[in-house]
């Protein structure tokens, strides 16, 4: 498997302030890689360095195994990105904006190609409107069109679902999964909607104060994590008795009537529910807080 992105001890200092500190990670081709961090963690600075907008104070950045510092032009032909938020020339229409990018990428687009692109991002029929009339969500979609128009191998998206409506978020999720699974695109995905990251990313890195605090396969990182599981049953006393008599007593946190709060890993939920059913207890509800959310808060607040 080849490497799409590699950062080697990348540091960025703004005068006395260190925004990114010795950051290293690898994104393999074909991965959907989550890039997480709280506000001010150095996420945007890192993404800007990967796109050549900011020069690192120290360290090396490689994209497709070529140094960004020396192969920027050829690398950028294979990369599509939205950094921070999609901004366009408001006095031009959406199609005129896209035409500028098509020309900048030296592509030959036919009318059909434009139609297909606007169809893909759900803006067909609005392409002749001036961008100043667009909502933030529509600009996000247009940003996505700009990102994809040159069929890049690597897609870098910084908060792409900000401003999107629920349908837009779902559409984006399926589009990214389709691009990854059917066309083998590598995607670096930064978002504050952690359920989305957990849903689509294979691997991830969490940075805080400019440093990597966790990185690896999403499943591996979350497998040991305990969840706050809420289980609602029809008989409080029977539930307490089952708990006392089973190994699950150690996971018990508290109960409010028939609602029991447990601290357990995801893999332990199914056997526990099975045990309750076997003991003729009616399980009315099983609910748990997003696992990545809990993990993210734990490692960024520690």
């Amino acid at each position: 498997m080849s490497i799409a992105i590699q950062l080697q001890s990348v540091t960025k200092k703004f005068k006395d302030f260190t925004a990114v500190d010795q950051l290293s990670f690898i994104v393999n081709t074909g991965e959907i890689y989550g890039f997480l961090g709280p506000n001010g963690s150095g996420k945007s600075t890192s993404l800007r360095m990967m796109m050549g907008l900011i020069k690192p104070s120290d360290g090396n950045i490689f994209l497709f195994e070529n140094a960004l510092a020396t192969h920027r032009s050829s690398i950028m032909r294979r990369v599509g990105c939205i950094i921070e938020k999609p901004d366009f020339y408001n006095y031009l229409s959406a199609k005129e904006n896209i035409k500028l990018f098509v020309r900048a990428n030296q592509l030959n687009y036919t009318a059909k190609d434009y139609d297909a692109l606007f169809d893909l991002v759900g803006l067909r029929g609005r392409e002749a409107d001036k961008v100043k009339t667009y909502s933030h969500g529509m600009k996000q979609r247009l940003g996505l069109a700009q990102t994809l128009l040159h069929n890049p191998d690597l897609i870098i998206l910084d908060e792409p679902n900000t401003g999107l409506d629920p349908q837009g978020i779902i559409d984006l999720r399926y589009l990214l999964l389709k691009l990854n699974q059917e066309q083998g695109k590598t995607i670096l995905f930064s978002s504050h909607i952690l359920s989305e990251v957990q849903e689509i990313c294979n691997s991830m890195i969490v940075i805080n104060k400019g440093k990597a605090v966790a990185q690896g396969k999403v499943a591996d990182l979350l497998s040991l994590e305990k969840l706050h599981v809420v289980i609602e049953v029809n008989d409080e006393e029977k539930m307490k008795r089952i708990l006392r008599e089973s190994q699950y007593a150690t996971f018990f946190e508290k109960n409010v009537g028939n609602e029991f709060w447990m601290n357990m890993s995801k893999s332990q939920i199914a056997p526990f529910v099975q045990l309750l059913i076997e003991n003729n207890l009616e399980v009315c509800r099983v609910d748990y807080k997003n696992q990545l959310e809990a993990y993210f808060l734990k490692i960024t607040q520690s």
Partner: protein, 282 residues
């Protein structure tokens, strides 16, 4: 080269389509029409006030109030406004994109930063040229169509010079060429400041501040100022007027052109140098 052509074409489209570009076109059209209207109604009285003092010495014959004289007056009048109109657009070419965020898209494409700055600089020059062409059309050709043509009385520092009507077209050509060079310096300066600063207003204000300070230095006959005066671009911005002297001071004009060209080269070089090292954190 093909890539640079594509970027340049994009920059020209953006420059021409921006709403603020039309302010310059509108202002020039309005000032020209306003002055032409004023001269049409009151021109004879204005002129008799100027030539009245000469009537005792010379006999002035023919149509003195003609298109050539109107154009000369318009050009003198717009000497202050033109740099402002040029800076209004060219001072925003890079900083405007930095402020609005579109610079991120521009710089994440394959083209190098040097090519982008050069394309923006050429787009700025193109806009300057369009302004001058519009000025030429209104100030010279429309004035000639309204007031006719003929010999021109040019009042300059050397005194009054009469330029024959059949000897004037090449002078106008040269005058507009030098004016383009002078405004090219303003455009290059504005573009340079636009590369350095991150908002739209500061480069425009700074250009005007520089022009005002340099012009004031040029106005005072002080020995300490006299040393630097020949090297200030503002000193040479009005050298187009030398083409309406007799004989034409060719050496002075060539020197002015060289000084203006050197300024352009220096400003463009600084723009490229700075922009290539700039972190885009906006």
């Amino acid at each position: 080269m093909k890539e640079f052509g594509a970027i340049l074409y994009n920059e020209l489209i953006k420059t021409i389509r921006r709403p603020r570009s039309f302010i310059g076109f509108g202002v020039i059209t309005f000032i020209c029409l306003m002055l032409q209207g004023a001269f049409y109604h009151d021109g004879k009285e204005i002129l008799s006030f100027v030539t009245g003092q000469l009537d005792n010495i010379f006999t002035v014959e023919g149509k003195v109030l003609n298109g050539n004289l109107i154009c000369f007056v318009v050009l003198q009048t717009l000497i202050v406004q033109m740099p402002l109109l040029v800076a209004l657009v060219t001072g925003d070419l890079v900083s405007g994109e930095t402020a609005s965020g579109t610079i991120r898209f521009l710089l994440t494409r394959p083209a190098s930063r040097t090519k982008i700055v050069l394309a923006k600089w050429i787009a700025g020059l193109f806009y300057t040229l369009l302004l001058l062409i519009l000025l030429g059309i209104f100030a010279l050709f429309v004035s000639r169509a309204i007031f006719g043509t003929g010999d021109m009385m040019a009042l300059n520092s050397e005194g009054l010079t009469i330029i024959r009507g059949d000897d004037i077209n090449w002078r106008w050509g040269g005058a507009f060429l030098i004016a383009f060079l002078a405004l090219g310096v303003v455009s290059s300066l504005a573009n340079m400041l636009s590369c350095i600063m991150d908002n739209s207003i500061t480069p425009i204000v700074t250009v005007m501040a520089i022009i005002i300070v340099f012009t004031i230095i040029g106005m005072f006959d002080l020995p300490s100022f006299d040393v630097i005066k020949p090297y200030l671009f503002t000193t040479h911005m009005i050298s187009w007027r030398s083409l309406f002297e007799d004989p034409v001071p060719i050496h002075d004009i060539v020197f002015s052109c060289v000084v203006l060209l050197v300024h352009i080269i220096v400003f463009v070089s600084i723009s490229i140098f700075y922009f290539n090292r700039k972190d885009i954190s906006a």
